[in-house]
Symmetry: C2
Subunit: 340 residues, 2 copies
């Protein structure tokens, strides 16, 4: 029987229609056949030894062990940037319907490791922490440019998730405006804060912990759960357990805790679903709201197991075929190999 669930973070209703089912136990589409694992690929611009194939490096974390690669994590400009630091954010208008502005911003790539085929879930927590540190450092640095209003951090894994280069990497785009989805999430959270005096996301994390049925993993500083009104099957959020508006300000102890939890969550998802394509995004506050009480930064992982079609495009409503309780239970049943 179909059911609608309300997402208080966006004021969306999500349709749950489990009879159109992608059941956890069958029919999970696998991502394209896995290529044989290789450490270095000849023409991959992100592999160690191929550094000359990329634009000049912005930042790197050196490899303390020496060895094949001089770096552990490497940050470079995107060769085909969506937004560029050279443009101006000046608005141009014809006085009517047609308003534009320069594509002002920044678009960087964070190469996760020199290893061409090793997934993030297979990396040791120390390597994941190095990636998170590089992201945080770039975020802090880009926000020194007063033209940038937000930095959107994301990772695409698998071609169904829009990756063009298989070598594991993250991206980061600084934008000259606050994108509407974020604006809307900030708006809903501010309204909730004004009404109740509480952070919507802190309350949500608390209630999910109390309910217990949708928890994927937790540690001292973070909790991962599948939200009550998940927009897609196996959608997973990671929230800090202490209030903090921006990822930019997470301290070393919490960054380490996050690395451990992120590894555990990805390992569970990848094992249970057979290496699905997924998008991982960080939602954060706009410039100037880093110390505010209304918003909690958080990570959203959205496996690409289904294709949004006309109904979703025409209405903005999602149809989800798997209840998050069922997805979380399914994940709990899958034995995880505790490698690396």
């Amino acid at each position: 029987m179909p059911v609608l669930r309300f997402d208080p973070t966006t004021s969306d209703w999500v349709v749950f229609a489990p009879s159109r089912k992608l059941r956890p136990h069958d029919g999970i589409p696998k991502s394209a056949a896995e290529p044989a694992a290789v450490t270095v690929a000849a023409n991959c611009p992100f592999c160690a030894g191929n550094e000359a194939l990329t634009p000049p490096e912005i930042y790197s974390i050196p490899n303390p062990q020496g060895g094949e690669s001089r770096w552990r994590v490497r940050v470079i400009p995107n060769k085909f940037p969506a937004l560029r630091i050279e443009e101006s954010p000046a608005r141009l208008t014809d006085g009517g319907m047609f308003q534009s502005m320069g594509g002002c911003g920044a678009h960087e790539v964070i190469v996760e490791s020199p290893d061409h085929s090793r997934h993030l879930s297979q990396q040791p927590p120390e390597q994941i922490e190095a990636v998170l540190r590089a992201l945080q450092w770039r975020y802090q640095d880009l926000m020194r440019d007063p033209r940038f209003q937000t930095v959107v951090i994301f990772k695409n894994h698998g071609s169904e998730a829009g990756t063009s280069l298989p070598h594991p990497h993250w991206q980061l785009i600084a934008t000259p405006i606050v994108p509407r989805l974020l604006r809307m999430k900030h708006f809903e959270a501010s309204e909730y804060f004004d009404r109740t005096g509480d952070c919507l996301y802190c309350v949500l994390a608390h209630e999910e912990l109390k309910a217990g049925r949708r928890i994927v993993a937790r540690n001292e500083h973070f909790v991962a759960f599948m939200p009550f009104a998940s927009h897609c099957p196996f959608e997973t959020w990671i929230l800090p357990l202490q209030h903090q508006a921006s990822f930019k300000l997470v301290d070393a102890e919490r960054l380490w805790a996050l690395s451990m939890l992120l590894k555990e969550v990805l390992l569970k998802l990848c094992t249970a679903l057979g290496d699905p394509a997924y998008n991982l995004t960080i939602n954060d506050v706009p410039r100037g709201d880093e110390d505010k009480e209304y918003f909690l930064w958080h990570i959203r992982i959205q496996p690409r197991l289904s294709t949004p079609a006309g109904f979703e495009l025409g209405s903005g409503m999602s149809i989800n075929t798997v209840f998050p309780e069922d997805a979380a239970a399914f994940l709990g049943e899958v034995p995880i190999a505790k490698t690396a």
Copy 2:
């Protein structure tokens, strides 16, 4: 050089990054290899002769010529409904974050013709008109149920657009709430109307006609153009030239004009892009606003030529690699076979 353009219908900024290019002249991904054209497929529940494979028929337009099939257009309940007429729209809440309601609504399939392989663009305008009439009739009928707030009409073409059954069909979902994307479009249009006294979409159509560079086709009653801030390559809108809030109320003369224009637009898109997958959606007003001045019903056609990735999912902003002027010019250059 990247540029941002403002979409006044949603208050979104869209990133245009043509250097990450899908140029009109090359690199257009074709949809999966076209299967050999067949009139009737053995196990297809939408083919003439296989009517017993579907739930009981809701409505059909009889075939005046008689022949193979007794019907020209056939409406049936979706066998795997996202929403069901039997459910109650009563809200259930735990007093905290977890609110739900019954999956109350309706989900119907409109089989475009008995022909298994003939695309909508290849149908004679009379057949397209019959489909539009059936959609309109079902829309009117479903809105007699006071629990339904909107009816979302859409068509998915090709597997990349989320079709599971290849036999050409439309769908229609009645919803017990106003979906957020529509709510937002209504809100932006109401604000514009309050400020200016004009319908945002009527002004937009007028300005696009004046600019001329993004027009795809027009006739006495409708105009098709690629919007200034298109969210994806080759996105095409069809707008009525006289104000009308709801598709429900379009008269016979205009329905015929729309059939002619829709055929022309789809023929151009399919010829230029090599039968791309696409989603077609109708955006309309909620219950009770059918005679209002703030909103103009319209059709959006979104070819599925690119994959939204982490940036889009994390920010709600689109990255478009083709300027609508270039896309419209490209369409204008392609010779169209004028087959019925």
